[in-house]
Structures are given as structure tokens and as C-alpha cells.
């Protein structure tokens, strides 16, 4: 018997296992009624999407701004600026 057959037989055996009984009704209802778990309202959803959109725009804008700043403040740029009278 190879490992795979052994695995399959064990899996078939595992499928017949009895699962412990649970009763989560009291805990779930308590949690829901306490207001600790409330679905987002329409306004909250709107704000969330707005925040996500703003972040999505802000990050590339910051990257572009930093690269433009670095390019304009490079040593070559300073030399060009300082001898601009010669041009």
C-alpha cells in the first residue's frame, strides 16, 4: 500500500468521526444584542469607500511627488542652476 492509499483510507475513516455537539445560540444572540457586532450603515459604508479611494489616489501621488522632488534637487540640477548665467 502506498502513502496515498493509506491517506485515503484514513480520510474515509476520519469522515465517520462523531463531531462534538455545540450550542452557540445564547452566545451569538448575546453578542448581537449587545451591539458589539453591528452591520455597517449606508453612511459608514460610503465613508469607508471614500477613505479607500482617497488612499488609492494619495499613495501614487506621493510616490510621483517624491520622485519629481528628488529629480529637481539632484546635484546636476544645482550645478545647472548655479551656472545658468553662462547659458
Amino acid at each position: 500500500m502506498n502513502w496515498e492509499e493509506k491517506f485515503m483510507l484514513l480520510a474515509a475513516r476520519a469522515r465517520t468521526e462523531e463531531v462534538p455537539q455545540v450550542n452557540v445560540v445564547p452566545e451569538v444572540l448575546t453578542l448581537l444584542s449587545s451591539g458589539q457586532a453591528e452591520p455597517l450603515t449606508v453612511a459608514e459604508n460610503l465613508w469607508m469607500w471614500l477613505a479607500a479611494g482617497a488612499s488609492a489616489v494619495a499613495v501614487p501621488a506621493a510616490v510621483v511627488a517624491i520622485s519629481v522632488y528628488n529629480a529637481s534637487m539632484g546635484p546636476l540640477r544645482e550645478i545647472v542652476n548655479s551656472i545658468s548665467w553662462a547659458m
Partner: protein
């Protein structure tokens, strides 16, 4: 139409034209069909009432489905306290996203998807914390490679052994192997439960099986 069919069926059964065995068989099939559609109808009504703020309706939904959800999550955690927490999480998450349930598939399928997501999240957190319980392949090797010997093993021992073995794999591989081979889901069902495409399920299954093969072939060595 249903009324007409029932009248014809009533005439046929009372007239004695049909053999008794056939009548019994059809009656059993009709009963089974009715028992399948009954929970779906009850679910639909309870979901509608829950959306209107009736907590009793949600209690009925939990009572009807918690055993099914518990069964799914027992494959993800065999620690009773964690298991119960995960079942709770599923029903809280289901409540919060109940408005997104469109009713195209049975409620139990929708819950199974949430349960799989919750269980998978638990595995990923555990993998990040690297607090997997110690498992040695010696346990795997101790089991004789004979069909009769394996069939004599306790079901919970077999499940515990596979749980420990699969815990050595990354959560993604573990999930696909658990669904395909331990839960016995086909490719379509696995895709539905995980939210992956069927191709992805097939590819992931192959990769995971290869990893598992390498794992069991490293028999007797200290693992990962």
C-alpha cells in the same frame, strides 16, 4: 397542475392498479423530497424575518444549522474551546452579511462558505504564530500499511492523525487537501467553498499532494 397530478396519483394508488412496492417507493421519494424543500422554505422565511429584526427567527436559523457548521469547523480545529468560538464567529459573520445572501443557493451552502473562510483564517493566524502542535511522522508510521488495520482504527484517532499531518503544510495546501480528501468534496464543491476557480483547485490539489508526498516520504525525520 400539482393538484391534478395528486388526483391522478390518488386514483392510481387507491384503485390497486400499481404494485404496492412501487407505491411505497414513490411515496418515500416524495417524502424525502418534501423534507429537503421544507428546511429551505423555513430558512427563507426565517431569513426574511431576521432582516426585519426578529431575533427569534435568527435563533431558529442557528439551531437548524449549527450542527452542520460545527461539523465543518471540527476539521479546522480539534480544540473544543476554539471550535466553539469559530462556530460563533460564523453565525455572527453570517448575521452581519445576511443582506448579501441572495437566496440563489441553499442557506446551508452559503454558511458552509463562511465556515470555510472562518476556519481558513484561523489556520492562517495559527501559522503566523507558528504554534503548531508537535507532530512526529512516527505516528503515521506506527499505523500498519494494511487496509484491515486502518479500518480498525478509531475514527477520531484517524481524524486526529490526519489533522496533525496536514498541520505541517501551509494553510492553502492544507485547505484543499482537507476539502478534497477528508471532507470528500469534488472539484466544483471545493471551488464553491473556497471561492477559487476549478482550475485553481486542480492545480492547488496537485501541488499540495506533491508536498504531502514529500512530507510522508521524509519519514522519521524532524519536520519543518
Amino acid at each position: 397542475m400539482n393538484g391534478l397530478m395528486q388526483s391522478i396519483w390518488g386514483l392510481l394508488t387507491t384503485s390497486g392498479v400499481l404494485p404496492n412496492a412501487l407505491v411505497r417507493g414513490v411515496a418515500d421519494a416524495l417524502d424525502a423530497d418534501a423534507s429537503r424543500t421544507e428546511p429551505a422554505a423555513a430558512d427563507g422565511e426565517d431569513i426574511r424575518q431576521t432582516r426585519q429584526g426578529d431575533s427569534d427567527a435568527y435563533r431558529r436559523l442557528i439551531e437548524r444549522h449549527q450542527a452542520h457548521v460545527a461539523k465543518i469547523l471540527w476539521r479546522f480545529s480539534r480544540d473544543r474551546a476554539i471550535h466553539e468560538e469559530l462556530v460563533q464567529d460564523v453565525f455572527v459573520e453570517a448575521y452581519l452579511s445576511l443582506n448579501s445572501f441572495r437566496g440563489n443557493a441553499p442557506f446551508s451552502h452559503w454558511l458552509a462558505r463562511i465556515a470555510t473562510r472562518v476556519g481558513y483564517r484561523c489556520w492562517k493566524e495559527k501559522a503566523r504564530q507558528k504554534d503548531a502542535e508537535p507532530f512526529s511522522l512516527a505516528e503515521w508510521d506506527q499505523i500498519a500499511d494494511e487496509k484491515e488495520a486502518i479500518e480498525r482504527i478509531d475514527a477520531d484517532q484517524a481524524a486526529g492523525l490526519l489533522h496533525g499531518l496536514l498541520e505541517k503544510l501551509p494553510p492553502r495546501d492544507r485547505l484543499v487537501l482537507m476539502l478534497r480528501y477528508i471532507e470528500g468534496c469534488d472539484v466544483a464543491e471545493t471551488a464553491r467553498r473556497t471561492g477559487w476557480t476549478r482550475t485553481m483547485v486542480k492545480v492547488q490539489s496537485l501541488r499540495a499532494r506533491d508536498k504531502l508526498k514529500k512530507l510522508v516520504e521524509r519519514s522519521g525525520m524532524e519536520l519543518i
